[in-house]
Symmetry: C2
Subunit: 303 residues, 2 copies
C-alpha cells in the first residue's frame, strides 16, 4: 500500500493528524530517561541510551494521540554511530506503537548521492555481503534546491519502498523569507514555483485510493496567509506543518490544509509536546500526553 | 588557526588544490578492500569494513596529490551506525595523512537543528555524561534554502571549532537550472543572490592571514560561464568546485576561481580518481595516484 493510503487509513483510524517530533537534546531529556543510561562507558554510548529511552517514553506517552513520529536526524547524528543506532531503535519503537516514521533530514544532493540518501532512509543498499536495510522510514523530508534531477532519485527510491517524500516549500523559520519568498521575474514567489514542482512530481506517482500524492510538502504553520494558495497549487499533496507553538504558528489557521482530505495536513510538534511539563507542570509523560491530545482534538475539529 | 589559513598553508605546502571525493559504493569497491572485510558477521558490518578499507587505500594512493578529502555522507549513512563508524575512521585516516576533511552532507535546517548539525560535524555535544565529540571535520557543506537564520548557527558552530562552511550557490547537476538559475524580479539569478549572502556571511567572520573567508561556496565546474561572476560577487570565498570529469566540467575553465588566491579554488573529484583504472587500466591505486597527480598539475598550472 502506498504511503499516502497507509497515512489516510491511520488518520481515519486514530482520528489524528498529529506528528510527534523527536528532537532529543541530551541536556533536556526527561529525568526518567537519564537514569536508564548505563552507569559507565563512553559518553556517546550513555547519552545515546538516554536519548533512546527519552524518545521511547515520549512515544509511549504521546504516541496514542499521534499518527507518526518525526525524528530530527541532526539530533541523533551528533552522537555519532551510537546516535544512529539509537535512531534505528527509536524508529522501531515507533513502528511497534503503530506509528509511521517520517525521517526529517531535509536531504538533497546530485542524483547519485540522492539515490544513496533514499537507500539510507527508506530503501536498502546492495553490497557484496548481502543487502543492508536502511532506516525503514515511511517518508522523509527533502530539499528542492538542487532541482528536479536531484529530487527524482529521492522520490524514485521512496516509491520503490512504498514510502513518501515531503519537499521543503516554505519553512517555518523567519529566515525562510530570505530565499523562499523571493519574487521571481516570471511572477510569483520562489515557494510557489517549488509548490508547482511538488504537484508535478506527485502527479507522476502511483494512484492512491485516498486521492493523495506520495510527494508532499513541508509548509510552516507560521505563514498561514499562504495556506489556501498552497492547497490550490498542490491539491493532492499532504502538507507537513511544523511551527505550531514555540515558533508562533496557531493551529486554528491551518484549516485550508485539510480542505482536500482529512489526511491532507499533518501538524508536527516537538518541544511543545516533550516540554509541556515545563510550562504546565505535572510529570513529563502526563503533560505530554495531555498536550498531544489537546492538539489532536483541535486539528481534528478543523478537518 | 582558522580553516582558511590552514587551507592556504596546506595548498602552498602541497602545491595542490585537489579534493579527493570519497563516495564509496559497496558494489564498486576496489578488490583489495573487499578481501579486508571480516569473513562473517552482519552485512552492514562487513560492508562498512570494506568501505573503510577502500577509502583508506584511496587516501593512501591519491592523498599525496591532494589537500583534502570530501566524504559524501549519504554513502556512509546508507550503512547505518556501522557506516557512521566507518566515516569517523576514514576521517581519522585522512587527518593522519595530513589532509583536511570536508564533510559533504549539504545540511540546512531551522536554527536549533542547524546548530545540532554543526555539533555533529565540527563541534561537540554537551550531555549529562560528558561532551561527545563530533566528526571533527575541518569544513562542511550547507544548503542556503532556509535563509540566513538557518545558516548562521551552522557557521557559528563551525567558527567555534575553527572550521569552515561551503554554502551551495550553483551546483554541478543539470537540474541546478530548475531553481538556482531562476531569474529574480529584483534582477539577477537566484544563485547571484546566494553568492551575495555567502560574501556577507564571510565578511562577518574572523580575519585571515591569507585574506580568505571561512564561508566558501559550492560552485559546479559544469557552468564555467559563471566563474568570473562568482569570483566578483564573492572575492574572499574559497570556491569548492565539483563536476570535473564524469559530470562534464573541464579543469581549464576554472582559472577565475584562482584569480584572488591560489587557495581560492578547490577542485573536487571522486569517481574520476577512484575509477581511473576502469578507463585507463592498471591497478586501482596506481591509476588513482596518476589521475590525482595529473589533476594537481593541471590546477596548479592555472593558478
Amino acid at each position: 500500500m502506498t504511503f499516502a493510503d497507509r497515512l489516510a487509513q491511520l488518520v481515519a483510524a486514530r482520528e489524528s493528524q498529529i506528528v510527534l517530533g523527536l528532537d532529543p537534546d541530551p541536556t533536556r531529556l526527561w529525568p526518567e530517561a537519564i537514569v536508564e543510561a548505563p552507569p559507565d562507558g563512553p559518553p556517546a554510548r550513555r547519552a545515546a541510551a538516554a536519548v533512546r529511552a527519552h524518545c521511547a517514553a515520549l512515544i509511549d506517552a504521546a504516541g496514542p494521540a499521534c499518527v507518526a513520529v518525526k525524528p530530527q536526524l541532526a539530533c541523533f547524528e551528533r552522537l555519532g554511530a551510537e546516535g544512529w543506532a539509537a535512531l534505528a531503535a527509536v524508529a522501531e519503537h515507533a513502528r511497534t506503537a503503530g506509528l509511521l516514521v517520517l525521517a526529517d533530514g531535509k536531504r538533497g544532493d546530485v542524483a547519485v548521492s540522492s539515490a544513496a540518501y533514499a537507500d539510507a532512509l527508506a530503501g536498502s543498499t546492495q553490497t557484496p555481503f548481502g543487502d543492508v536495510a536502511g532506516l525503514g522510514a515511511d517518508a522523509f523530508t527533502a530539499s528542492p534546491l538542487l532541482g528536479g534531477d536531484a529530487l527524482e532519485p529521492l522520490i524514485a527510491g521512496a516509491r520503490a519502498a512504498q514510502a513518501g517524500v515531503f519537499v521543503l516549500v516554505r519553512t517555518s523559520n523567519p529566515g525562510a523569507a530570505d530565499v523562499q519568498d523571493l519574487a521571481l521575474a516570471q511572477g510569483g514567489a520562489l515557494w510557489e514555483r517549488l509548490a508547482r514542482l511538488v504537484a508535478q512530481l506527485g502527479d507522476a506517482g502511483p494512484a492512491s485510493a485516498a486521492g493523495l500524492a506520495d510527494v508532499g510538502a513541508v509548509v510552516g504553520a507560521t505563514a498561514p496567509q499562504h495556506m489556501a494558495r498552497m492547497r490550490e497549487l498542490m491539491p493532492r499533496a499532504v502538507l507537513l506543518l511544523p511551527g505550531i507553538g514555540a515558533q508562533g504558528g496557531r493551529i486554528e489557521d491551518l484549516a485550508p490544509a485539510f480542505s482536500s482530505h482529512r489526511a491532507g495536513g499533518l501538524v508536527s510538534a516537538s518541544r511543545w509536546i516533550a516540554g509541556a511539563h515545563e510550562a504546565g507542570g505535572g510529570s513529563p509523560a502526563t503533560a505530554a500526553r495531555a498536550q498531544a491530545e489537546r492538539l489532536r482534538e483541535a486539528a481534528w475539529a478543523l478537518s
